[in-house]
Structures are given as structure tokens and as C-alpha cells.
Amino acid sequence: MRAFHSSTTSVGLLVLVLIFILLIALIVVFSHQILVDLAQVDAQANIVAYVVAIAFPLILLGLIVFQIVRLIRERATGKPGSRLKSRLIMFFVLIALLSSIPQALLSVNFVNSAINFWLEARIGEALRGGLSISLEYYRGTVESLRTFNSSSMMSFILEDLNRNPERLWKNVRTVNSDIQFIQVFDADGSELLFRGEPRGRLRSLGAFDGGTGDLPKEDREDASILRNAAVYELDGGQYTVVVGRLMPEGFDSKASSLTESLEIFSQLNRYKRLFRLVLIFFYFFFSLPIFLLSILVSFLLTEEIIRPIVNLEDATRRVAEGDFSFRILSRSADELSHLVGSFNRMVSELSHSREKLKQSEKISAWQEIAQRLAHEIKNPLTPIKLSAQRILKKYSADAEAESGSPAGGEFQKVLQASVSSIVREVDSLNDLLVEFREFARLPMPRLQSIHLREPVEEVAQMYRNLSTEVIIDSSHISEDSVIRADPGQIRQVLANLIRNAVQAMPKGGEVSIRSAVVNKGDRRFCRIWIKDSGAGIPEEIRGRVFEPYFTSKADGAGLGLAIVERIVFDHDGNIWFETQEDVGTTFIIDLPLGFAEA
């Protein structure tokens, strides 16, 4: 049996989906790579990115062009399904476009709106304003320290350095409450006084020893500290006075955040036209492969969808041409698969009916021949037999009258033997004609539901009585083997097959008869196996076993299996055999199930 594969399999679709997901993941990873890494420094890496970025869509485009060219060629050559395939692909592409275009328009609009929103002038002004305020605060603080430390008032305040340091600190705070600590060093750099916030204390003047002015801002984890140093001459000595204050907690981090935000804003603002174009370009750059991929997948999906339809169409054409050997194999479980299943059943039934019709026609022809033979041969046989008997009788009477004793000459012996031979052959021909007539007059079955066990047991018992060398096992007839059949004809079938089986084992053996219920499509049958352990059927005659008037036996008419086949067909059943030389033969019969009596 030749067969098409109709495989819209879940595995195939799963593979397609996996490839799709893999490619999408690749695009996402690739886009991330481009966005974050590749654009930074390495020009060679950029070249690789360019090559991959251009090669990937080009490969997809190439595959699509290849598919389109193939489709055009298929249409030109009139390949079945090509028109449907074109329409489906156009449909898929249309759907892809219908979903992509609004999405693209929305995305571009969104990018424009987002950039315009980010770069709104007032946001820039607010950022610059924030920076300006923080700078003013910072510079104001620095200036306050500087002004205080360079003021003439400090000379008077410092007079309390040795006399009353506490008053000195109190005076400092009174004059400028922003100052949070004061530290005084002598000319050697040794600390003479420290009052105020302990975190502001310098271990030494270090590089600023003897210097005047703002000290570099000290950034610590918990605070940043501003200091100003000034040198004073007092009582012949030289003193370095450091005043300072801690910036408010979080000032540095907020200032840093403000600076970074301003940097991002300035970058965006400076390159906003380019950035907008690049974003839109990248949107299409990454959307295009996905779109191309969708089209490519639509080609593959279309192929999968139309394959069973094309197979169905091709199989229908072949069936119409008389080839009933085609079947379409489908592993899926969708509607198309059901259609394929129905088609296969239809072809199978058509094939079966066709076979039955052919067989029926053949049998009818043979029946007609048998009828004619019976009619033509039967009529002269009786006169031949009677004439031969009369010749012998007349000659014997005449010879006895002439000689006065019963005829006993050589001629009479020859005559008696010849006439006996004629009579025997005529009787044999008569028997043959009886079989012919039976075959020719085989009536239509009168169907009724019967249990298979009854005819099997009846026939098996008859042959058990006739042959002691052969064991007939009929114990494996299933309980549900109720068939719809003509009991007389089924007995005839069983008798023929069991007789053949017995005759196939002249030295003894075993005939096994068993049955079971089987499903064929949506119908249920009773399957009967009749198995012998004989020599098997020679290969050269296997094809002619069911032909009428074909026999391998010396005394058979060759009608037994022909009658069996005819009866089985008349019962809407089926018969075939399996044989192996020196192992045995099994005849298998499928008969429609009947209805078991309640």
C-alpha cells in the first residue's frame, strides 16, 4: 500500500515555535548588546555588530525570496496546492502587516512623545535652577566662612585664645552661627584650640600650613566639610585659624544626582534629533527581522496546513483513476486528520466493494458456465451410461444363447472392463455435475444472529468422528462471537475449511479454531481463525486458491474455497489466509457481528 504522510504534527509545530522563540531571544540579546556594549568603544566590535545586524535580516530576506521563487515556479508548473498556498501566505502577510503598521505608528509616536516630554524646556530649566540653587548655597557657605575668617573682628575674638577659650568659641558662634567648628594652630602647626563639631577637626594643617584661603572640601562617608584658613599675628606670635562647617546631610549625593540628571538631559537635548532618528531606526531595525521571520514562518506553516489537503486532492485523483491502493497517513488529531480518516475509510470501502463486485461478477460467470455445463453434459450422460450397460447386457445374453453357457471369452472380459469404466466415469461426471449445480444455485443467505459456537461445534464434531489422527480444538471460541449469518451456509464454510485442513494433514495434526471480536474503522467484526499444522500452501498457487475449478487435489472439483469465498462475501465479510510451508496455514474470516439475545 502506498501512502502519503499528512503531518501537521504537534512536534513539527513545537519545533517551529521553538525556532521562533530562539530567534526572538537572539534579537533581544543582540539588541541589548548593541544598546549597551557595542556602541561604547571598540570599533572592531562595532564592525562585527554591523555585519551580524545586516547579515541576519539579509539571510531571512534571502530565505523569503527563495520561498517566493519556489512558489512562483510551483504555480507555473501547476503543482497542486500552489494557488491555495499563495492565498494563505498573502493572508498571513496581510495579517502581519495589519498588526505591524499600527504598532509601528504607535511606537514612533510614543518615542516622539516620550522624547518631547523628557526634553521639555521647563525640565531643563528646573534642573539648571536646582543646580544653581545648590551652587548658590554652597558658594554662600564658602563665602560666609571666608568673610568671617578674614574679618577684623577675628583679631579681637582671638584675644581670648589663651585667656578664655570658651568665650572665644561663644563669640564666634554669636557673630556667625553658620560656623560649626574652629581650630587654631601655632606657627609650628601644633593645635592650640579646637571647639565645635568633632568631625571637623584636622589632624594637622599639612599642605596648608601657613596658607590662607579655602581648604579643599573634605568628602567623608557621613559628611562633607568646608573649611577656610587665615593667618593672624597676635602678641608677636603667628596663628593659623581654621573655621568650617559640615554641609547638610545628603547634600553631596543630591548634588551628584542633580549633576548626573543634568548631564543626561544635556546629552539628550544636544543630540535629540539624532537620538530620535536612531530610536526609530532601531525600532524598525529590530522589527524588520521579526516581521521577516513571521513571513518565513507563515511559509512553513502554510506548507504544513496545505500538505494534507494537497495529499487528499492527489489521492482523490489517483482513486478516480482507479488506484485504490493509496492511503494518507496522519499523526495529528485535528479536523483535517478526521477528514483524512474518513477519506481512507471511503477508499477502503470502495476498494472492498470493487473487489466484491469483481469477485461477484467472476463467480456469476463461473456459475453460468457451471449451469451450462451441467445442462449440456447431464443430458447425454444418462443415455451414455444406459447404452453402455445395454451393450454389455445384450452381448452377454446373445453370447449365452449361442454357447448355452455364460459368456466368458476374451472379448467379453474386455467389454465388461470397458463398460464398467464408462459407467464409473459417467457416475464421476454426474457427481461433478451435482457440485456444479450446487455452486451455480448457491442461494442468497438468510441472515440471522447466531452464536458461532453452534455451527463450529457441529462441524468439528462431524470431522472428529471421521478422522482420529487429527485433533480438532474448538475450545477458543469467544463468548461474544455472535454473528449475523445464514447457519446452513456458515456450516458449509466451516465444513469446507476444516475438511481442507484435515486433508492437509494426512499423517495427523491439529486443527485449531478460535475467534475474537475486532474493530475495523467504526465497524465491529467477529474474526475466526482456522489453523492447521499441515505443509502449507506452495507459493506458486497461493494467488489462485480461491479461483473456481482450481484444485491441487486429485479428486476435487476446485469449487470448495470458491464457494467459501462467495458465501463470506455474501455475508458482507472478508476472507484471507496466512501460510508458511512446513508450518501450516491459517484461514481468517471476518464476519459482521450480530446481536446477542438478551
Binding site: I34, A39, V41, L135, Y271
Partner: protein, 163 residues
């Protein structure tokens, strides 16, 4: 490029004239960027080669070492100082523009490892500079793929190894 014993070191300086050919001053572009609250970046790329001779010349000279040094400059509005960072660490703070620009556009002597001085090989250094007056942070940096006005790269300059 200098060879001391077996150690090789090199210095690179980016001359403003390389940039000026484009009609703008690199110094002014960098300062304008910093004053606008942005950062500037300069990348020095050095490659130490050994010349191949004979049939091996067909395969090109052998790359022995490659170093890339990134310097990022910013302006601290609070301190009124220019700062230079290398590997995310401040390497210099400058109040004067000229000092800052000199430091930013030049790479101090950098170690390129050791070579086998006794093999009679012929060594040379290739160097180039990639300058971004505005350091563009990811993911905005994708625009550098499409614009020639954001990144300025010099051609490779060759220097012979001097013991």
C-alpha cells in the same frame, strides 16, 4: 616609546591640530562640553608589534601587547575645578584650564610589559586616540554608530622602539 632594560613604556599625546582639521578646536569643544555639565572622554590605544620577516611577513606583524586607557574629564561646579578620572579614580584636579587640557590630552608613560631584547627583533608601537568631547552614556551611546560628530578617532601613528 622607550626601552629600559627589557621593559617597554610609551607616552601618547593628542595634538589639537588633529582635531582642528575638522574646523573646530578640540580644547574648546571639551571645555564647552564640561561647562555644559557634560563629561568628555579620551581613549588612548597602544599596540606593541614585532615585525615579521621572510615568509612570515605574509601573515603580518605579530601583536605582542595591547593597552587601552580611558580618561574621563568633568568640571566640578562647586569646587570650580576640572577633574580627570582614569578607571573611575580621580587622577588629577586642576583649577587652570591649560593644566587640565595638557593632562587630559596626554597619556603619561605607560608600561607595556617586557620584550626579549636579545633576539634582535624589530619592534614598533602603533597608537591612536579616540576622543569624545561629550561622553555619551549608555544606552544613548548608540547614536555614536550613526554620527561622525560625536567621536573623533585619529589614524594609527607608528613609533619605532628606542632603547
Amino acid at each position: 616609546m622607550v626601552l629600559r632594560g627589557r621593559s617597554v613604556s610609551g607616552t601618547v599625546e593628542y595634538l589639537d591640530s588633529n582635531f582642528a582639521e575638522r574646523g573646530v578646536s578640540a580644547s574648546q569643544a571639551v571645555l564647552a562640553s564640561l561647562w555644559d555639565g557634560l563629561r568628555a572622554e579620551i581613549t588612548f590605544q597602544l599596540r606593541l608589534y614585532r615585525r615579521s620577516s621572510g615568509v612570515f611577513a605574509f601573515f603580518g606583524d605579530r601583536l605582542l601587547r595591547e593597552r587601552q586607557v580611558y580618561q574621563v574629564a568633568s568640571f566640578d561646579f562647586y569646587e570650580n575645578r576640572y577633574k580627570i578620572l582614569r578607571d573611575n579614580r580621580i587622577t588629577g584636579e586642576y583649577a587652570a584650564e591649560t593644566e587640565f587640557l595638557d593632562a587630559f590630552f596626554s597619556l603619561p608613560e605607560i608600561d607595556l610589559g617586557e620584550i626579549n631584547t636579545g633576539d634582535g627583533g624589530d619592534y614598533y608601537l602603533l597608537a591612536r586616540v579616540r576622543m569624545m568631547p561629550v561622553k555619551i552614556i549608555p544606552p544613548l551611546n548608540i547614536i555614536t554608530l550613526f554620527s561622525t560628530d560625536t567621536v573623533f578617532t585619529t589614524p594609527w601613528v607608528e613609533a619605532e622602539l628606542k632603547p
